[in-house]
Symmetry: C2
Subunit: 252 residues, 2 copies
Amino acid sequence: MKIRVLPMIQELPDEWRPYTAIVIDTLRATSNIVTGLAAGASSIVPCLTPQEAEAKRQLGDLLGGERDCLIIPGFDLGNSPFEYQSDAVKDKRILMTTTNGTRGLKAAEKADRILVCSLLNAPVCAAAAYGRQQDVVVICSGTKGSFNVEDGLTAGLFLHEWLKICEEHPQIDDFGLTMLHFYQTTNSDIVNLLMQCDTGTRLIRLGFQRDVAYCSQVGCIDLVPVLMDGALVPLHLAENQDLHDIELAPIK
Amino acid sequence: MKIRVLPMIQELPDEWRPYTAIVIDTLRATSNIVTGLAAGASSIVPCLTPQEAEAKRQLGDLLGGERDCLIIPGFDLGNSPFEYQSDAVKDKRILMTTTNGTRGLKAAEKADRILVCSLLNAPVCAAAAYGRQQDVVVICSGTKGSFNVEDGLTAGLFLHEWLKICEEHPQIDDFGLTMLHFYQTTNSDIVNLLMQCDTGTRLIRLGFQRDVAYCSQVGCIDLVPVLMDGALVPLHLAENQDLHDIELAPIK
């Protein structure tokens, strides 16, 4: 199997297909998606714009997301994982729009299957992707077209966990190997790294230090969001038969 | 000062200007340029296509370059640094076209000044760029639109050397900080890393193992190529007055 890691959102050539896409936006979109589904939200629908989210809203739905790290006026939820952990999300469908994470999901649309990854769930995400026995493209959403540390680190963790469980060593591209090395040489210091990186310092300046600390936790949630008919749902609840067949490999 | 590092060739937004560009294509274009000028070539003219190189050829000029790592039919020089080290290049103008390196130079065309960097000359290149006291964009040429290990490592070395001589810590972007960490955690093992990376293994398969070993040497050439009127010349020979004024900071 081949694994490619993209440092930022970019066009994927058609010849890469078929593949499983792993979409990462660690601070904070994909951490929130994992958290919200773990807290019992029924599904999360990624929307490119606030207007799209509002247009799709049905009775009982919640609107969530951010622009420039801040809650969108009129929305129920911003972009803090603690909002997605609350009882308010239980059994709710959430229409979510964020600057980079939603664009990362969009970039993956030609993949056979799209899984959502953050530091919180990277181990179980690696196991689920490995179970598919298909080439993988890991998309670091980055920040406004540039690479960011937190997504690169999460990609490195994903690969690190993959190598723990795989029987045969996959062919990993140069960027993936570099991110694997990055994770393996910094993994005792993730919180500090996220606090000091570009997004982290911006979030701390805006008062979201607790969010950064929360999103720095490795492997604390055993849930993989998968995109099904335009909505993110927990992999184990997905109705698609081929998803039911996946036997999750043992973690650690 | 701000330093940005691009993982691959990409469009640079106009608002980034003004800046000094550092162009890297470690295996092998920028290593060859540094080597050729150090061996006494009078100048090296980057050309986008073999046709452009042939059209510009004048009596006494040499044609050099590669497509898919191999010499172009009818050219005098391929893409091996040992060809650029020979007496044959002395006092010659070389018209050079390579797959990624030439495109990296093209991407930098809006910079105030373009300097050429490889592992061979990264320390003196960092000193020359630092002497300009201007924002810097480091362009890793990569391989056919993707990041490669050897250019990332060279960018990390460039930053490492900059930090040794600077009085005030520059603002380095997330990708630059990651490459700095990459270099600093692997710098005892550069030859092996280049031998094992994607380009390195391809070159070894084609019989160019010596080239990879040669290009892995850190700081063995004290020469900075600079682009002047479409030709690369050694910085100390550049006629432009503001270049004469640069006092190179002491190395190591």
